[in-house]
């Protein structure tokens, strides 16, 4: 196989895993679920973008960001600003005291579109901003933190603080951001009604395809020398530094990639759900996203997607039946996973699933072979997880 293609697919095992996931989200879900449920899965998949980014930053880069909601929110708000402007044309808003500006601005006695909003008349600008705005903020945070070599825990706390500050800012600047309600009542994208079932189906597929694209990019990074450097840094950061590498630049890079993925996820969220609000930016959603990655397995890109899906199915089920219990359950789940299954579902699969599969094949003389060329697959099961038949 072409080496680049091989890198992207992550070897034979990686290709099979990815094909299964693609089949599940591109074929099984659309066939099996009704429009409402499918839209819900589409929403979960937008969180999976963040979880995949967290596998890169946290699993590989060793940097635990507890503020990924920031980037998800920024991407989502960029998209929402564009859609809101389109929904606020002078014709439709003629009863306002200032027609042509978003309704919440009018309610806040704003008489002119703020400068910040102007460029969001352009779809191309918006699509670029969805990625670039989160990346720029990640770059600033990354440079400020990693060049100064702040500790891991300190970094996590600072990302939380930024998530909190951003939430407070969004809520406070009601006239500019729609405040606590967020930006709602989004209707069309270049005249195409995003609320129709058909549009939702198409957006679901776009979102799923983008997610697979992000997984491929992440695989490429992990399989490259940069991916190996990240693992090496987690093991012996000093050795990497004194081998002539600028350790901070690699951390900044994966943090920015994670932010870009989160931004795309946020934009797809806005498109599919039809609004964006500060409740997706703050501390709680940011921590939830870490839980998705932890449950899936923080070293497994595909695991992150399954983690996001499963935890959200659970959340929907439980918060419909026992809403007050969910938060405790989620906390408990996180503790159990971190303490007993540090490699999450992917780790369980590596240690048990494969063995069961081999047994099912009923060929007792065939032992479970250790994964060939773990390097090439970019997925390195930790030694204690390796299957010993």
């Amino acid at each position: 196989m072409n080496p680049t293609l091989d890198k992207l697919l992550g070897g034979k095992q990686g290709a099979i895993g990815l094909a299964l996931l693609a089949a599940l989200i591109l074929v099984v879900f659309p066939l099996a679920l009704d429009a409402f449920r499918l839209n819900m899965v589409g929403k979960y998949l937008t969180y999976a973008f963040v979880a995949v980014g967290l596998v890169l930053c946290w699993g590989y880069g060793g940097i635990l960001s507890l503020g990924q909601g920031i980037f998800f929110g920024l991407g989502g708000y960029c998209m929402a600003m564009f859609l809101k402007l389109e929904a606020s044309d002078p014709e439709r808003t003629k009863i306002q005291s200032t027609p042509g500006i978003p309704d919440f601005m009018d309610w806040n006695q704003i008489t002119e579109l703020p400068l910040l909003w102007e460029p969001f008349h352009s779809l191309s600008f918006t699509l670029i901003a969805v990625v670039v705005v989160p990346v720029l903020l990640a770059l600033v945070i990354g440079i400020a933190m990693f060049k100064r070599r702040v500790g891991d825990v300190y970094f996590s706390i600072v990302t939380q603080a930024i998530a909190l500050i951003l939430t407070v800012l969004i809520i406070g600047q009601q006239g500019l951001t729609g405040g606590v309600n967020g930006i709602t009542d989004l209707r069309t994208l270049k005249g195409w009604d995003i609320r129709s079932d058909e549009a939702k189906l198409i957006l679901y597929f776009v979102s799923a395809a983008l997610l697979i694209g992000c997984i491929l990019i992440a695989r490429f990074i992990i399989a490259s020398k940069l991916g190996r450097l990240l693992l090496a840094m987690r093991d012996k950061e000093e050795r990497v530094r004194f081998s002539g590498y600028d350790v901070a630049s690699f951390k900044i890079f994966v943090f920015c990639v994670g932010a870009a993925f989160a931004g795309i996820g946020g934009a797809m969220f806005t498109l599919q759900v039809g609004f964006m609000s500060p409740s997706f930016v703050g501390i709680v959603p940011s921590i939830e996203m870490v839980i998705f990655a932890a449950v899936g397995g923080r070293l497994s890109l595909l695991g992150a997607v399954y983690g996001a899906l499963l935890v959200n199915f659970g959340k929907t089920y439980f918060s419909e039946s026992f809403p007050e219990l969910w938060l405790y359950l989620m906390g408990g789940l996180f503790i159990v996973v971190v303490m007993y299954f540090p490699n999450g579902l992917a780790g369980l699969w590596d240690s048990h699933g494969k063995r069961c599969l081999a047994r099912l094949r009923r060929k007792p003389q065939v032992l479970v072979t250790p994964p060939p060329a773990v390097i090439a697959t970019g997925k390195r099961p930790t030694p204690e997880l390796e299957t010993t038949p």
Partner: protein, 253 residues
């Protein structure tokens, strides 16, 4: 400087002058002067806590000097960033073998290959024939030619030390600094390491910290004895060994 060309050739590759570092008032290195010549194997010995490791930390930028200068081939290291110091040609082995345990010998060496050192370089780095040949050549040199695909954590302690030396050789540094390279090695491994050092010191300078006197004898061109952050004595191994001050503070017990 207007020194004549002939003098230039004899100029030391590394010139440490007036170097001082103070940890909360405690001067671990105190007004130190130390010179390493081209193609020289220079060994630093001294009792525990004399400041030997700290000197290496200062040279490679891990610790920042309170005062003094470190001139490496015309460049002032005290103000350079760690990775720039490495890229300028200074390689450093740590006191405890510091290798990537989860990677194979091949990958450990490849990691130190001086290409793909920046973000996008690393992203698109390709394992070319040139890289493979260089890795194999260095692996041969450090006696790990038959273990290329072994996971590094499965190597013996001595082999790990060699692997780390090999990782430095990948960068072909002008100055190689080794902190206790034979600590924990068997006698035969020590002999092999001495041969290795004598081979790899061709065409480069080596600064070694060691406690093992037999080993020091077999490699050193010049020995500096460090005591309480200062130079106590300097010269050939014989001269140093018969120096009464050195015997008193270090060799005597």
């Amino acid at each position: 400087m207007n020194s004549p060309a002939g003098f230039q050739a004899a100029k030391p590759v590394l010139a440490i002058e007036g170097l001082t570092v103070s940890f909360d008032g405690f001067k671990a290195v105190n007004d130190l002067n130390l010179y390493v010549d081209r193609n020289e194997v220079h060994v630093v010995i001294g009792p525990n806590g004399a400041g030997k490791t700290t000197v290496l930390d200062l040279i490679c930028g891990k610790t920042r000097a309170t005062a003094g200068s470190i001139d490496f081939d015309g460049r002032e290291l005290t103000k350079m960033r760690e990775y720039d110091i490495v890229r300028a040609g200074v390689g450093r082995k740590f006191q405890n073998p510091s290798i990537y345990e989860n990677l194979t010998v091949f990958e450990n060496l490849e990691m130190s290959y001086p290409a793909g050192r920046k973000v996008f370089g690393a992203l698109f780095f390709k394992r070319t024939q040139e890289v493979i040949e260089r890795v194999e050549q260095v692996a041969q040199e450090i006696m790990l030619g038959d273990h290329l695909h072994r996971q590094a954590e499965l190597l013996s302690h001595g082999q790990k030390q060699w692997l780390e030396i090999g990782m430095l050789l990948m960068q072909d540094p002008q100055l190689l600094m080794l902190d206790e390279p034979v600590a924990g090695m068997s006698v035969s491994e020590r002999v092999a390491t001495a041969d290795l050092l004598n081979r790899i010191s061709q065409g480069r300078s080596v600064l070694v910290i060691e406690h093992d006197m037999e080993f020091v004898k077999s490699i050193a061109h010049r020995v500096t004895v460090l005591h309480q952050g200062k130079v106590l004595a300097e010269g050939s191994m014989e001269a140093v060994q018969s120096n009464p001050k050195v015997i008193e503070v270090y060799l005597g017990h």
